[in-house]
């Protein structure tokens, strides 16, 4: 698993990367009440705004960590945004992105480095 400094996690499944937000991010956001996900088949570039997540406190954007094509989104968190707080590292993944160049992941943090970042 890889992590961004913006508190997203990425898990490789073949040529697809599953993206979600970390437990630390979910805790900081507080109770999530609204999630907007991208359309499937959207081609995105790294740092494009792809999702909106709103908690009781505020709205934040989620940027795509990679270049690629959105191939699947998790509608469960749209109908039940509270799942993001319950299981951010598992069932409450956000989207799956098909990536041609997996070496893009190399620049990101591994679990040990991410843990150090959030203390």
């Amino acid at each position: 698993m890889k992590f961004t400094e913006e508190h997203e996690w990425m898990r490789v499944e073949g040529d697809v990367v599953v993206v979600g937000i970390t437990e630390h991010a979910a805790e900081q956001l507080g109770d999530v009440v609204f999630v907007e996900l991208p359309e499937v088949e959207t081609v995105v570039s790294k740092d494009d705004e792809v999702c909106v997540i709103e908690s009781v406190k505020a709205a934040s954007d989620i940027l795509s960590p990679l270049d690629g094509e959105i191939v699947e989104v998790n509608d469960v968190i749209v109908t039940d945004p509270g799942k993001v707080n319950e299981d951010p590292m598992g069932d409450a993944w956000f989207f799956k992105i098909k990536v041609e160049d997996m070496s893009q992941l190399d620049e990101y943090l591994d679990e040990a480095a991410y843990k150090k970042l959030v203390g």
Binding site: G30, D31, V33, F34, E36, V52, E54, V56, K57, A59, V78, P81, G82
Partner: protein, 374 residues
């Protein structure tokens, strides 16, 4: 950065694991480990304890209540003189343009008048009262007391274990009760739409009172986050957001707070700052009005969201003044200002969220029915 002030309950908040944030110059708990959503729902289901010690408590003294009341009536468009002993009323400090300088609660406590004002406005309010009130009325800020609110359907059951007499109080009554040897000034009121109490307690006794309450099964400590979502669902104005110096009581839908005796034809008509524009608007109406808003989708429409009359084209006709997620409603709720012709319940408007216009309906306030003990 200037040092944040701490309330007498600061140590308790930290011990309870609260997330502390700066608010109106104070370090205040925005939420506890329970989180905003559960704190909100707990308050509506049982009882929540809020530290509101940052608010301004002020005593006005004079030779007798009538003298103080007549003096205060020159600053607010409310019937202060007719307020019975042991009763409290909602009020507004107005300015010459008819705008609202602050909102307040004032109580007839027999020989004196007790005022509670917003934290962010308290220094200005105290200066304003000192400047406007005659020399025979003194303005005494109360700086040695905490203020806590106990809100929710089980607030009476909880507080009456410590002060049995509070069960006799009705909505907007005020009374003095002894709790564990401390003289507490209690009102049956609050800022959540629920039944409940606000308790002014001597600083030294505040933590013991708060601990005694939160140790009860019904009571949880509640932060400012849930205080905001509770008052938003209850349709109550937050000063600086839903009302301000450029908003009149008529625009804000607060004419109910101006008693007949101060209106045109009343025995003490006018005589407050902005009387001419305010009385004119009571007679003729205001061009814009505060309304309740319920977005059709799930996306919250927050403060500042521009409102349009149509799904595309045209200029903004108004804006959201407060908005977010309503945990008891289970969806987004808001209020905002719209032109007179767009204020009817059921009117569909469009709010622009992240560049997209989303439908939002004008609804009756409050979003959640009030639960007061009248």
């Amino acid at each position: 950065m200037t040092e944040l002030l701490e309330t007498p309950l600061h140590g308790l908040h930290v011990a309870l694991g609260a997330k502390m944030v700066p608010f109106a110059g104070y370090a205040m708990p925005v939420h506890y480990p329970l989180g905003v959503m559960k704190e909100h729902l707990h308050t509506r289901a049982a009882a929540g304890l809020f530290d509101v010690s940052h608010m301004g408590q002020v005593i006005l003294r004079g030779v007798d209540y009538d003298t103080i009341a007549r003096a205060l009536e020159a600053m607010v468009p409310m019937d202060v003189l007719g307020l019975e002993p042991g009763r409290q009323r909602y009020g507004l400090f107005t300015n010459e343009r008819g705008g609202i300088e602050d909102d307040l609660m004032f109580a007839n406590r027999g020989e004196h008048l007790f005022v509670v004002v917003n934290a962010a406005c308290k220094a200005d309010d105290i200066a304003r009262m000192r400047a406007a009130l005659p020399a025979e009325v003194t303005v005494e800020p109360v700086t040695d007391r905490a203020l806590v609110a106990l809100q929710g359907p089980k607030a009476e059951a909880a507080l009456s274990r410590l002060a049995p007499g509070v069960a006799e109080m009705r909505f907007m009554d005020v009374a003095t009760h002894d709790i564990a040897g401390a003289e507490c000034w209690i009102s049956r009121s609050g800022y959540t739409g629920e039944d409940g109490f606000e308790i002014s307690v001597p600083e030294a006794a505040a933590e013991a009172l708060a601990r005694a309450l939160i140790e009860m099964d019904e009571v949880e400590a509640i932060g400012l986050g849930a205080r905001d979502s509770l008052r938003l669902e209850a349709g109550l104005c937050l000063y600086g957001h839903d009302i301000d110096a450029g908003t009149t009581p008529i625009e804000a839908g607060l004419v109910w707070s101006i008693q007949k005796v101060r209106r045109a034809g009343g025995d003490r008509e006018g005589g407050f700052p902005g009387a001419a524009p305010i009385l004119r608007q009571i007679a003729e109406g205001a061009p814009r009005r505060r309304v309740g808003l319920r977005p059709e989708g799930r996306a919250p429409m927050r403060e500042g969201t521009a409102l349009f009359a149509a799904p595309e084209g045209g200029e903004a006709i108004g804006a959201v003044s407060s908005g977010g997620f309503g945990p008891s409603v289970g969806g987004p709720v808001a209020m905002g200002y719209v032109p007179e012709q767009s204020r009817a319940e059921g009117t569909t408007l469009w709010g622009e969220v992240r560049g997209k216009r989303m439908p939002v309906n004008v609804v009756r306030l409050p979003h959640v029915p009030a639960n007061f003990k009248r």
